[in-house]
Symmetry: C2
Subunit: 301 residues, 2 copies
């Protein structure tokens, strides 16, 4: 393992590396005092841990409606064979649906809801747009794991996102419990960037959304992060919301329990951090995975 200080390189070498974060976690800006902005205490926790969980930010009733919408989207987009519908590895069960804010008016409104948008603007210190949205369904009995990854590593290399100035907002559509493979985060991991081994093939996304093979952090680096920060899982009732930094290491185990574990993701990116060219001569990924064209700054509801 080599410690290097060049900014955020990855998949360009035969050795893994741990690179110190070069960017703020919370950006100063004009949105610090929005109606639903985090308190100073909450913001401190976010800065320190790289995430914050807001239990019951949405009501259970709202979550039930969103879950219904997500399942309908999964069924119809799967049947129609839309590229937005990604299947479980070795199966025809829908694992994820992408670009849900474009496919559904319900999600289009939710992404502009002050409870989510005020926090995103506050943390990123600017106007924001949706870089990516998706639902991960993780069905009961057969839901497969999501292996450890930093989103930013992928977005930087495959999408050309310049800096760490994006976050994921996760809305729990079902209860996340110890039994159904809840999201696990490594507190403090957002302060280190794990540079990964290996080149990336063209059109890697077709496979990687089902099962990641490039941009996978090595076990030594993961062990380093977990030894420093431990692990935390985001258990909570449906309607809870988690905000986490684009470089926070996360993953989740599979789900053999009968209880689906379905989560909705909005990835907010700063309008001052729009995508450039992917690294290593890669072609840009499709619009439904990484928005370039159709990505206006969001108007609050």
């Amino acid at each position: 393992m080599v410690l290097v200080s060049d900014i955020y390189q990855s998949r360009s070498d035969n050795e893994a590396a741990i690179i110190l974060r070069q960017d703020p976690v919370v950006y100063p800006g004009p949105h610090a005092k929005g109606e639903f902005a985090l308190s100073e205490h909450q913001l401190r926790n976010y800065r320190k841990n790289g995430f914050i969980q807001l239990r019951g930010l949405l009501s259970r009733e709202e979550a039930a409606g969103l879950l219904c919408e997500a399942r309908n989207l999964a069924a119809t987009s799967g049947e129609r064979g839309l590229p937005e519908a990604v299947l479980e590895p070795g199966s025809d069960v829908v694992r994820s649906v992408f670009r849900v804010h474009g496919l559904s008016a319900v999600f289009e409104r939710l992404m502009r809801d002050g409870r989510l948008l005020d926090v995103a603007r506050q943390i990123l210190g600017s106007e924001v747009y949706i870089h990516q949205s998706r639902v991960n369904l993780k069905p009961g009995f057969s839901g497969r794991e999501f292996y450890w990854h930093s989103d930013f590593e992928t977005w930087h290399i495959e999408d050309g996102m310049p800096r760490m100035r994006a976050l994921s907002c996760v809305v729990l559509l079902t209860e996340n419990s110890e039994f159904n493979g809840p999201l696990m985060l490594v507190p403090g991991s957002h302060m280190h960037y794990i540079s990964c081994i290996g080149q990336t093939p063209q059109d890697h996304y077709r496979q990687s959304l089902r099962k990641q093979e490039y941009g996978v952090p090595d076990e030594t680096s993961l062990g380093f992060l977990v030894q420093r920060g431990g692990l935390q899982s985001t258990k909570g009732p449906a309607g809870s919301v988690v905000f986490f930094d684009c470089n926070t290491m996360h993953g989740s185990n599979g789900n053999i329990s009968p209880f689906p574990r379905s989560n909705l993701f909005f990835v907010y990116n700063s309008v001052d951090n729009r995508l450039g060219n992917p690294r290593g001569g890669l072609q840009p990924r499709p619009e439904f995975i990484a928005a370039r064209e159709n990505a206006p700054a969001l108007q609050r509801l």
Copy 2:
């Protein structure tokens, strides 16, 4: 789903069925007052739930020694290509080692330790022998799930075990936490026998120890059991011990955490419940999976 009253048939029909248990859970007998026997209260819980967890029954130091022995066994039996060493699906990582009480003097002694043996004799109401022993290593980062199953279904069909008069004793060799795929049990499920769909091919065990494809309970029946009893996971420090009935439905999720989840299993069977012929014309499985010849009643240490 059809409710039938024939005793414990399975894999003989095209429909799943739920069959009421026809056997006691706790058997009367001469061993009710052994030195380490369970209290009345503990026994009541075992009868009701189909399992009981004894936190810290073995010390952490003992567990550390057992873990070391288990890892050595995994390494040496894997290298030597012993049939007792079973690999993870699609991998050459050792998933389980069987017949550990035959391969290691340490485990041979432990199976006769009063802390385990007194409880096994008490619950089964007779002298007992080891039907099967194994270590499930479930390594960090890559440990795969064990899907839901009742051990008795397999032992009845594939090994000709006549009745429900056996139990598993699980020794936690590492901490089992919410992060590393702990054993999950369905409380009360031992009172229903889930008859499974499908015939069993000969030599099924070669595959089934890596990934089960026959004797898999259907989702409707699993949902029925979990709705009645809920789920419980056996989290606890290394050295904790779980006793569970041969018909208690159990399984575990995979493990992407860096922490191995290694558990040792002794299956105690009553000497009055020795194996007969497998069902459906199957050949008996090998001795290291289901003891017939080399299975004397155990002498207490």
